[in-house]
Amino acid sequence: MQVYYLEFFVVALGLVMLMVDAFAKLQDKRSLARLGILGLGVVFLLLFAVQSPSNAASPVWKFYAAPDNLSLFFKGVALLTTILSLVMAIDFAPIVLSKIAPPDQGAHPQAGLGEFYSLPVFVCAGLMWMASANNLVSIFVSIEVVSITFIILAGYMRRNVGSLEAGVKYLILGALSAGFLVYGFAWLYGITGSMELGPITEALAKPGVNSTAAMFAFSLILVSLAFKLGAAPFHIWVPDVYQGAPTPITAFLSVGSKAGAAIVTLRLVYPYLTSPVLGTKALAILVVIAILTLLLGNLGALAQKNLKRLMGYSSVGHSGFLIMALASTSYPGAVNALSPVAVFAYYIGAYLLMTLLVFLVLNVLNAADTGETLDSIRGLAKRSPFLAGILLIALASLAGVPLTTGFIGKFLAFKIALDAGQWMLIAAALIGAAAGFYFYLKIAASMYLDAPSSSDGAAIPVNLLTKVSMVILAILILLTGIVPNVIVKLFS
C-alpha cells in the first residue's frame, strides 16, 4: 500500500464523520467519537502495511517524502495522539455541551458536539502530512491545516471566557508566526531557487551561498517553528492557551502540535546544521534557544497553581530538551555515536506517553467537576487509588525517574549533549531537570501525603475505555523505560 493512502483514509474518515453527524439521526453523538477511534485505529494498523514506493520518479515524491521509519513513526504518533484525545473528548462531552449555546427549540440536545469529534480527525490528517512534507509549499499548507483547525478547537467552548481567550490568542499569534514562516520561505526560495528540501539542502551546502540572506531566512523560519514548539522566547502563548482550551484539546495541542512542529523543525533545520558554511552559526542560535527554553519553562512551572497551566510550562520545558538534542548535532566531520534523530524521535514518543497519561487523568478529574488546581488533587490517593497510581507513574516519568521512559529520554538527551561537549546546555538542562523533579513530585506528594479537601470524598467514576487507555499507556511507559532499544533501534 502506498503511504499517502493513509492521509486519504483519515480525511475520508473525517468527512464521513461530518456527513454522519449532519444526515444521520444519532441519539448520542459520542458514538461519532467511537467511530473515529475505530477508524483511526484501523489506519494505525495500516501503518505496518506501508510499502516502499514502486515508482520513485513519480511527481508525488516532489512534495511528499517517500516513507521511512522517521515519517512513519511520526504518523503513528499523530494517530495515537488523536485516538487518545478522542477518548478524552468522550468524557469531556458534558462540559463542552454546557459551554456552547443552549439548543434551540426542537434542535438536537447535543447540537454542536459532532464537530468537536470530527475536527481532530482533520488535524490528524494534517499532522500526518507534516511528517512527510518535503516541499516548502506542502509544509506550509499542512501546518496551516493543523493550526486553523486548532484555533477553532481551542475556542470551541464559546460561552467560556477562558476558552474564547485561548482561541483568540492562538489565532492572532499563530497568524503572526505563519507570516514569519512564509516570509522565511520566500527568502529561502530566493536564495536556493527551489521549493524542495533536497535541492535546498544541496544549495545551502555550497560554499558560495549568501550566508547573510540564508541566516535571515533561517531566523524567520526558526521564529515560527519555535512558536509552534513552544520554545522561548516565543513560548508566551503556551500557558494561557493550554489553560483556556478544553482539556482534550490541550492534550492534543501539547502532543500532536508539538510532534508535528518537531518533525518539520527537524526537516527544515537540518539542511542548515549540515551545511559547512552555516552550521556553526545555526547551532549557536539553537543552543541559545534551548538554554532559554529549558530555564524559562522549568522555572516558570515552579510557582504554578493550575495543573493545566503547569502542564503548559512543562511542555515548554520538554521542548527545551528536544531542542537540546537538536543543538547537539555533530558538526560535519565530527564522529558522534548517537544520532540526534533517534534522540529526537525517542523523546517525542516518551513525551506522548507521559503527557497524554497526565491529561487523561486531568480530563477525568475535570469531567468529575473536581477542578484543575493543585489543591483539587490533594489526597487523591484516598479518593481514587487507581487514578493516583496512574498519575504517579506519569509524573515520575515526566520528572525522569529511572525505569520510566522519561528517564531514558532525558538520559539520551544528556548523553548526546555530552558527546557534543555542549557544557552550557548541560548546565541549563540540569537546572531544568532539578526544577522538574521539584514541581512534578510536589504534585505526587500532595496526592499521597495530604488529606483530601474535606468537601468531596466521593469516588471518581472512570469509564472502561479511559481505564484501558490509561493502563496501556502506563505499561508502555514502564516497558519502554526498561527496554528502550525497541524505539532507539528504529532510527540507527
Partner: protein, 124 residues
C-alpha cells in the same frame, strides 16, 4: 555590518520627517479653522445622527459572506487547472483529472454539510 543599516535609518528619518514637516507646514501656512459642536458632528448639514456610529449586522450575514468567499476562491482554482489540462493529460499524468475530481468532491460534501446544518437559511 551596522553601516549597512544607515540607509534604512535615513529612510526612516525621511519618512517620519516628511510627515512631521507636512503637519508643521500646514499649521504654519494654513488658515485657522472654525470649531464648534455643530461643525464637529457627523453630518454638517444639520441632520441629527440616530443610533450608534456602527450599525450591527446579523451574524448570518458574515456566515453567508464567508461561505461565499470560500467557495468562490476555491472555484478559482479550477481555472489554472483547466488551462493546463490538455497538456497534462497528453504528457500522461492520469491522476490529473482525479485530483480535481477529489477536490471538487470535497467541496461538494462541504456544501452539503453547510446546507444540512442550515448555514444558508436566513430564517433559523
Amino acid at each position: 555590518m551596522t553601516q549597512d543599516y544607515i540607509a534604512v535609518l535615513v529612510q526612516i528619518v525621511l519618512a517620519g520627517g516628511f510627515a512631521v514637516a507636512t503637519l508643521i507646514a500646514s499649521a504654519l501656512l494654513g488658515k485657522r479653522a472654525l470649531r464648534n459642536p455643530m461643525k464637529d458632528s457627523a453630518y454638517e448639514c444639520g441632520m441629527l445622527p440616530v443610533g450608534e456610529g456602527q450599525a450591527r449586522f446579523s451574524v448570518k450575514f458574515y456566515l453567508v459572506a464567508m461561505l461565499f468567499v470560500l467557495f468562490d476562491v476555491e472555484v478559482v482554482f479550477l481555472i489554472p487547472w483547466a488551462t493546463v489540462y490538455r497538456a497534462q493529460i497528453e504528457s500522461g499524468a492520469g491522476i490529473f483529472l482525479f485530483a480535481m475530481l477529489g477536490f471538487v468532491g470535497i467541496l461538494f460534501l462541504a456544501y452539503l454539510y453547510a446546507l444540512k446544518k442550515g448555514a444558508l437559511s436566513w430564517q433559523r
